[in-house]
Symmetry: C2
Subunit: 234 residues, 2 copies
DNA sequence: CGTTAATTTGATCGGCGTCAAGATGCGTGG
DNA sequence: CCACGCATCTTGACGCCGATCAAATTAACG
């Protein structure tokens, strides 16, 4: 069901897109490089909380960049067990599959706005523009690096180490003004870390009891001791 | 310790390299495409069992293709816990990192021969040859697809499901004449699946008791019922 | 303010890890 | 060809971490 609203049919080539400021974002936004090439059309779409953006196995027609909100990409087993592969936050690119079909499902975690470009125009641009081809490669390689780190977490870390790693990752990616505002629920965190939501909750409570973090609400967290958190990560 | 033997300093451009026949190998060997470009030098090296080919964090100077033998690539936690990300069998490419450093360690599982090309010459070729640039991207995307599947396994499958998935993967990749000859030990399998070697051994014994597989030796396995094995995979 | 989702916390269970002992296989040297 | 030594693999007993089941509390939202 594609019920999203078109909020902007196209961006003017003259208008420089201002990527949301994120600590982890490269100095030169690779999505800008590929999206501002001649012939590549960028649009904006919005999705409501929990709305599917694309499904696993569907043809990959577009490549996306989060403008506002957050996205989860995941795989399901037949009985409903879910593994979230990544969370995509403002500035992040997702949906870039080299094959013709998406290999994970993407859903909006909260109300979300994305920019998107047609995959076919990207492929075309890559055929004539070496810079675009190089960016496609390094963006996919960046996803691979994250997946490799996450395999180590899923296969070999304890519950507390997983939660510590998660907090440090989110701290790096979305802490603003000393505060981390998590867009995702405990179940999403559990499905990202290979844990149940109860185990995630217990680990966070324990870290709170130890004074390593403080809640202003369940999803608003302040890290009080990053060093001790890093020590808990293996 | 680079104690490997140079068995062939370079291949003649005229000689067509015959890749080992593997069921899963693409019709056109992508390594051949990139390795036979003008200016790209391919050599052969050999490593003894358990010898390190490169270490995590080392500069990535070469890209490799397995000719004979098998390779494991892995990450370690500080206390020695290990997660193997992939096994590389004859025909497989490994060591292709977009960044300047390897993100995993590579070791020979058995006595192994590899072909290799300098990463810098690949990068140079990608700058002028669109086909090479495209192959770099799709090879990295192929690694990413495997990593995504493996995250689902590590985070959400049971021990028996993990072993079933492993057997079906190895069956697809190395069964010859109805028989699967595993190059790796039980510990390697465990570190690949996020299990202990004992749990792997128990799962294999159970499958043998059920008649789903048969051992001719501990590492020589015949699958007797692929359908029942596929049913055990989630 | 009522309704429902999200989160926390407690009690119990079980799958897989840990520890240990034996069995099997294989390479090496006599 | 056989004996020995070592690595690998199997199997058993037991324990623990995280899952499951359940219920209370808090937060979000119309």
């Amino acid at each position: 069901m594609l019920t999203q609203t078109i909020t902007a049919p196209a961006v003017s080539p003259a208008k420089v897109f201002s990527a949301p400021r994120t600590q982890g974002v490269p100095a030169v936004d690779q999505f800008n490089v590929i999206a501002t090439c001649a012939g590549v059309i960028a649009s904006e779409f919005s999705y409501r909380k929990d709305e599917e953006i694309y499904g696993e196995g569907e043809p990959s027609e577009y490549v996306y960049q989060v403008v506002r909100g957050a996205v989860r990409t995941y795989k399901l087993l037949t009985d409903g067990r879910r593994q979230i592969g990544a969370f995509h936050l403002p500035g992040d690119v997702f949906g870039l599959d080299a094959g013709s079909a998406h290999r994970l499902t993407a859903e909006a975690i909260a109300d979300t706005t994305v920019r998107l470009v047609k995959r076919r125009s990207l492929e075309a641009a890559a055929g004539s523009n070496v810079q675009v081809a190089h960016n496609l490669w390094t963006m996919t390689a960046s996803d691979l690096r994250h997946a490799e780190d996450h395999m180590l977490l899923l296969g070999r870390k304890t519950a507390m180490e997983k939660v510590a790693t998660f907090l440090l990752e989110m701290d790096r990616r979305l802490t603003r003004a000393g505060m981390m505002a998590l867009p995702m629920c405990r179940r999403d965190i559990g499905d990202y870390l290979g844990l149940t939501l109860e185990t995630v909750s217990r680990a966070l409570s324990q870290l709170s009891d130890q004074g390593i973090l403080a809640f202003s609400s369940a999803r608003q967290i302040v890290l009080r001791n990053r060093q001790r958190l890093a020590d808990m990560d293996a």
